[in-house]
Symmetry: C2
Subunit: 446 residues, 2 copies
């Protein structure tokens, strides 16, 4: 199979565990087969690899998520980066071209596009293969997946098929309805539109050349910013008379709000917490290093991260957006390709941060105009470069760097360090990057 | 007036804002006249000073609270330190002797003993003066305050007086009753026993000499550990036929649980928090540097400190003890006589702490056997002494100290610094103190 995984939408619906740089698909909330926590991204990626070990998987995403994706998956995962937001059609087109022009997939081979964030059973990927087979037939244009609904939801769009067969042509689409309409659709055998669809690249490319002026992947990438915003619905679905739908009868959970997410959790507590016996239907997800005690609560979710603390009635948790929208936008933690960081303290004209750098990885070689920095190595071994001077460092070493000084560290074994930033204008934008004069050898430890 | 303020009982009923070193009377939850937050200790201390600017006030407490008391009140406040716990009679005796033998109060002058933690109106101190006047009469022995009850509480002991006069002799005492008995007592005109009482030192000293072998304050202090544990009730109240009670009809709030404490708060939010419009009777006290968002909750208290996070139904909040008893006992923050500290991060074999040192104050001159330390000064100016070498330091300076090295810092202006401790056995007990060879001059800045 050729698969485009859409890893979009940073956002705050799952604040404080999701923020402007960590989208919900990166939160580690689910057990993998070995009992370790994994994220939605890791889960769906591994499910695809299990269903089809030879699958070509491209992750379509924005620049801000690349570091998190590399942190959670192999470094050699294929990522199609949107240079900027241009709505769904250019994004899907770009990833499709990545498959054909970068990975060498034939324009006649089917491609399946799916979002990265639903929780699904393994049969979902069998249905996906049926989509691909169907889309691979020369007479097919667009093939959708339709989820068999478990209740008349007002949250999803509906696909009304012409028959109840596993594969059927589509009669019509319906936007998110009210409850009465949803019940009515269900009586007509309607399916939920989960945003999974398949096509052959040649089909999309033909449509694209009518709308846009481009030669290939590299050309489209270069002129991406100049493109019009066009939705996939407008460019493809609304114009296409021949659409088919494949039914999926298995497990499918949308985990877009704290309420639906906690329903899907394997246990009631993740992290350090005590829930009193008289609590009912209480879930705690605690990424802080201090305990949470919950007493006498019913139907409540508690989520805590270095970003903040949410305590919400589960049924109200989907109304979070306006409350967190205007909170301080400073990012207090993030997983990066090289490791992770957490802000420990913000004082006047200073900030204290803990960095963890994975073996063999390094920060960029960079300097700041407006702040001095002090690194104290807590543990691990690494190589620092400070104004082109290389030095082996380990736990206990202190490196003081004035503003303007170029610096980096490469971890040999995993390095944890405390970085203290001091200056009147501390900002993530105060960073100039350089090339190292001599590449550090990747002396990864055991 | 001569007043003994009992500042006892560290404890966890108000966890996470109270812990083994910070008792509830040190939490700053109430507005003073200038709109600043003040603690129960500060509030009652200032109320006494307002009622009687010449009052001799002695705070009776244990060693562990002395630093917090100095942090919140003047450095020259009188403190009678119990060397160890020996129940209420030896403790009250020791403070009484502190008044007579250290502060020179006459044994014929009345003394009023009162706990530090109820929230009361200013007329409480007028009633206290009536207690003192009454106790000052040669025919008086023991005079109690009786709070006019607002409901038949099961939480308090009762005093049943012989009349409804402002001053009456006591008929009998009743322990915490069940609801029906409490209603019955109220019909008999009973009063709550709030633990406020007055006597002349000569009266207590006579009783004490019958029970214990001691000469004066200094002698009692020295042999304190060898004393028997004796309660004030057993030694005094139960044997005394002539007890009087003075009625207090004004405001009196016991703030011993989160439920009663939040009732007494002036506002619903202290610290950074957002409470959604559909919340009812929700209080947030947030001492963490990150926001709390509360949505769709009813009758809930949220309290957060570097120690942990409590989310509790208010009516259940008095059941907290068993849940927090077995939590990690490491103290993560405290106010000290010299300033304050907060643990920012605990890693394997290291700990990162932020210290704030008040102008003119200094840490003890000390060393550690099992850990190295690095100080990075964030702001302020001070003098460090490291292995007898004095040095002026300011924001940005880094001081690295190996295990064994003696060190201290004295703040000239307020100093904030990050201390990184590294070692395999980090413990508060790993500390040896020294005398400075040359006293640092108290160069307090502006």
């Amino acid at each position: 199979m050729n698969i485009i995984l859409l890893s979009g939408g940073s956002g705050k619906r799952l604040w404080p565990l999701s923020n402007d740089v960590r989208s919900k698909q990166f939160i580690k909330l689910f057990h993998d087969e070995n009992g370790h926590y994994e994220s939605m991204l890791q889960r769906v990626y591994h499910q695809i690899q299990k269903a089809d070990p030879k699958a070509n998987i491209v992750i379509a995403t924005s620049k801000s998520q690349v570091s998190s994706i590399h942190n959670q998956l192999d470094m050699d995962v294929s990522i199609s980066i949107e240079p900027c937001r241009r709505d769904t059609f250019p994004a899907i087109l770009l990833s499709t071209l990545y498959l054909t022009d970068v990975l060498g997939v034939s324009p006649q081979e089917p491609v399946v596009v799916c979002p990265v964030d639903p929780l699904v059973g393994d049969t979902y990927f069998t249905t996906m293969q049926t989509l691909a087979e169907q889309a691979g037939k020369p007479e097919s244009h667009l093939v959708l997946m339709g989820i068999e609904p478990s209740y008349p939801s007002e949250k999803y769009g509906y696909i009304i098929p012409n028959s109840n067969d596993v594969i059927s042509s589509v009669k019509t689409f319906k936007e998110k309805p009210d409850r009465a309409s949803a019940e009515n659709y269900l009586n007509q055998g309607a399916l939920w539109n989960a945003g999974v669809f398949a096509y052959r690249p040649e089909y999309i490319l033909a449509l694209a050349h009518e709308l846009l002026d481009f030669v290939d992947y590299y050309d489209l990438f270069d002129r991406y910013e100049t493109l019009e915003k066009i939705s996939f619905d407008y460019a493809v679905v609304e114009k296409e008379p021949v659409i088919q739908v494949v039914r999926y009868p298995g497990e499918w959970k949308d985990v877009g709000t704290w309420n639906t997410l906690t329903e899907a959790m394997d246990e009631t507590i993740i992290g350090e917490a005590i829930i009193s016996d008289d609590c009912e239907n209480v879930h705690v997800i605690n990424e802080l290093g201090v305990p949470i005690v919950a007493m006498g609560l019913k139907n409540v979710v508690l989520a805590a991260s270095p970003e903040g603390i949410l305590v919400s009635d589960k049924d109200q948790s989907d109304k979070i957006k306006p409350y967190v929208e205007n909170l301080n936008q400073n990012i207090r933690f993030a997983d990066k390709s090289w490791g992770s960081f957490q802000v420990l303290a913000v004082d006047e004209d200073s900030m204290t941060i803990r960095l963890t750098i994975k073996p063999g990885h390094s920060l960029s070689y960079h300097s700041h105009v407006h702040r001095d920095e002090v690194w104290t190595i807590l543990s691990g071994e690494g190589t620092t470069v400070v104004d082109d001077m290389e030095q082996l460092v380990h736990g206990g070493d202190v490196i003081a760097m004035q503003a303007g000084c170029r610096h980096t560290i490469q971890a040999i074994t995993e390095v944890t360090l405390i970085e203290i930033q001091r200056g009147e204008e501390i900002s993530v934008y105060d960073k100039e990057k350089y090339k190292l004069k001599r590449a550090l050898s990747p002396k990864t430890g055991q």
